[in-house]
């Protein structure tokens, strides 16, 4: 079997898009110095609200808008809890992930009168792009995808430019690296953190919509199945840098897609299930090992704290 071809890349792009949206959100929050671990819950919430509103209104795009809006509102829990009221972001995230899981399951029954899966005939999904039909490579890459797939790629590039080339991006980087310093120059750190958290919410809304209205047209309980956690790993792997986040998501997606192909060649399903996680872990170890070595030479005592969750959100230590 041909392991890398256009179809393969297209498949990876498609299946990575939801993760990419969430991870971009997580990376921006990381830039602002806030560890956003609530991506899984937000993605799930986005997927649910997209399907619900698409079903009610008969318009998939209304579903997308609703996903963005309601997930942004949902992310307000993190903004309010972890930023405004300075509660531990990890604890708030644990609560939010559980809330999303419970609430989507609950509302699936109460609002849509379904359990398990909701995929009625006539549920409007997002249309595939046909603009690029006939364009050689791009057509094959993006042809069968929805608009939200190229949008995710564009947003990764845009986020990178925003962070690295704009004044606001410079401020954002400062906020995450040294909040006291930013404060002393009059930057209201919580405002940046709230804004990025809400932005991450909006991105997760898009990611969720792509999952439930783009990739497929259905909602199932817990349909994110850990994609938000993969996004968290990608954020960490990329040290909050948007273009590297893109790379990390594609790496994970490729590992998964290779896994499916290898399954077809007789590799046990459980092994191919584990592969993307192991690949991510190995790459993560390789990248952090360099950081650790450098720290060890510079300051062995400080290096002891290099893996502390606190240290993780500060990008400068991961360079």
């Amino acid at each position: 079997m041909d392991v890398v071809n256009l179809a393969f890349v297209a498949a990876v792009l498609g299946s990575s898009a939801p993760v990419l949206y969430a991870a971009l959100g997580g990376a921006l929050c990381g830039r602002a110095g806030l560890f956003n671990m609530a991506l899984e819950g937000q993605l799930l919430w986005g997927a649910f609200s997209a399907v619900t509103v698409s079903w009610w209104t008969g318009s998939a795009w209304a579903g997308v808008v609703a996903a963005v809006v309601t997930t942004t509102v949902f992310s307000g829990v993190l903004a309010l809890g972890a930023v405004t009221w300075r509660a531990d972001p990890i604890i708030v995230a644990v609560g939010m992930n559980l809330l999303a899981l419970g609430l989507t399951g609950f509302l699936l029954r109460e609002l849509l009168d379904a359990t398990g899966t909701f995929a009625p005939a006539g549920l409007p999904g997002l249309p595939d792009l046909d603009l690029l039909d006939g364009v050689p490579v791009l057509g094959a890459l993006l042809g069968g995808q929805t608009l939200l797939v190229p949008l995710a790629l564009l947003l990764a590039v845009a986020a990178s430019l925003w962070v690295n080339r704009t004044s606001v991006g410079l401020r954002l980087r400062g906020v995450g690296e040294h909040p006291e310093a930013a404060t002393s120059l009059g930057v209201v750190v919580p405002r940046y953190q709230r804004a990025t958290v809400l932005l991450a919410g909006a991105l997760c809304g898009l990611g969720g919509a792509q999952l439930s209205l783009g990739d497929v047209t259905a909602f199932t309980e817990n349909m994110t199945s850990g994609r938000g956690w993969v996004a968290v790993a990608a954020v960490m792997l990329a040290a909050n840098r948007p273009l590297l986040v893109l790379g990390a998501c594609l790496l994970f997606g490729a590992a998964e897609a290779w896994g499916f192909r290898l399954q077809g060649l007789g590799m046990p399903q459980q092994l191919t299930d584990a592969a993307p996680y192991l690949v991510t872990l190995v790459v993560l170890v390789a990248s952090r090992l360099r950081v650790r070595r450098r720290l060890d030479e510079a300051d062995p005592v400080a290096a002891v704290s290099a893996a502390h969750p606190e240290a993780v959100v500060h990008p400068e230590e991961t360079r």
Partner: protein
């Protein structure tokens, strides 16, 4: 699917009913054809026999036991368990409650307590027939299966499909992909990704046996990736014009007749439904195939050949290996 508390029973009449039954599922019913059909059968027999019916959905293996015990406390006329996942609970609880009647559909505890009636299926026989169709219809000589998990039981929808195809055309190769992951029975996106892998690999006949993850596979079929086969019920409308046939399992019929038997006092025993008993089959073999919306209706020659193989299986001239027999 849950018809709720006692006073809002499944029978249309309302008010006092002649009796009651409780159905326990191993998973949420929604999106699971097998469970939906079983519950339908339960509701049908309840209406017929004037029974109050309640459904207890389990969420995981642990809650099954809880639900079985809760059901027994309600003392219904019969406690119905759906699927082999309840086998363990049905091996122990009935022994402690000798006066309660139990029916296990799709499995049988060993040893079988006296107050447990069993109804099981030989799904592999029908899968084999679907494989025969795929073998005859495949142009690319590549077929595939998307299944939820790689377990011996689920392989009943995998291995016989390949065997059936190979029996009519030895050059056909079959690829099986398993959804796996965190949520194998409800991850349509992964289901779709795997179906797409099969389509990209050239498979033109694909059996979708992944429960809630099937939605994704049918989407690939609908976009022309391949022709699909459904499982348990008629899924030809899931991807109109792209579904060839379905591996049917008449769990509703089996359940209803078993309940009727138990209420009539003929409890016990283990009935296994195969092709011979008409417990499993294909849409192609039904009377209403013409109006089913399935592609197979356009291939009377194939149907004819399938009918012959069916007879051979019933006669024993063709044996289908049971992957779950281990």
């Amino acid at each position: 699917a849950d018809t709720g508390s006692g006073d809002s029973g499944g029978n249309a009449a309302g008010g006092e009913t002649a009796g009651s039954m409780i159905v326990i599922t191993p998973n949420p019913v929604g999106g699971n054809n097998f469970l939906e059909l079983a519950v339908e059968g339960a509701e049908a027999v309840a209406a017929e026999q004037d029974l109050d019916v309640r459904v207890f959905e389990s969420s995981d293996p642990t809650s099954i036991q809880q639900n079985v015990e809760a059901a027994v406390r309600e003392k219904p006329d019969v406690v119905v368990g759906l699927s082999f996942s309840l086998q363990d609970a049905f091996a122990t609880v009935p022994v402690d409650n000798p006066d309660q009647q139990f029916l296990l559909v799709d499995g049988c505890p060993a040893p079988q307590p006296e107050n447990v009636t069993c109804a099981a299926f030989r799904e592999h026989e029908a899968t084999y027939l679907a494989g025969v169709e795929a073998g005859l219809l495949s142009r690319s000589k590549k077929i595939g299966v998307v299944a939820a998990l790689d377990t011996p039981f689920i392989r009943r929808w995998v291995d016989p499909f390949a065997a059936g195809a190979a029996s009519v055309d030895a050059t056909v190769t079959s690829t099986a992909l398993f959804v796996g992951g965190d949520n194998p029975f409800g991850d349509p996106a992964r289901g779709r990704a795997q179906a797409q892998v099969l389509a990209d690999g050239g498979a033109d006949q694909v059996l979708a046996a992944a429960s809630g993850s099937n939605v994704g596979a049918f989407e690939v079929a609908a976009s022309g990736g391949f022709q699909a086969y459904g499982v348990d019920v008629n899924e030809c409308e899931s991807a109109p014009g792209q579904v060839v046939d379905n591996v049917l399992k008449h769990v509703d019929v089996a359940l209803a007749s078993a309940v009727t038997e138990i209420l009539a006092g003929n409890a016990g025993g283990a009935k296994v439904y195969g092709l011979a008993e008409d417990g499993v089959g294909l849409t192609a073999l039904e009377d209403d195939v013409a109006s089913s919306g399935c592609l197979i209706a356009d291939h009377p020659d194939v149907i004819e050949q399938v009918q012959q193989v069916r007879q051979q299986i019933i006669d024993g001239t063709v044996t289908v290996d049971d992957p779950a027999a281990g």
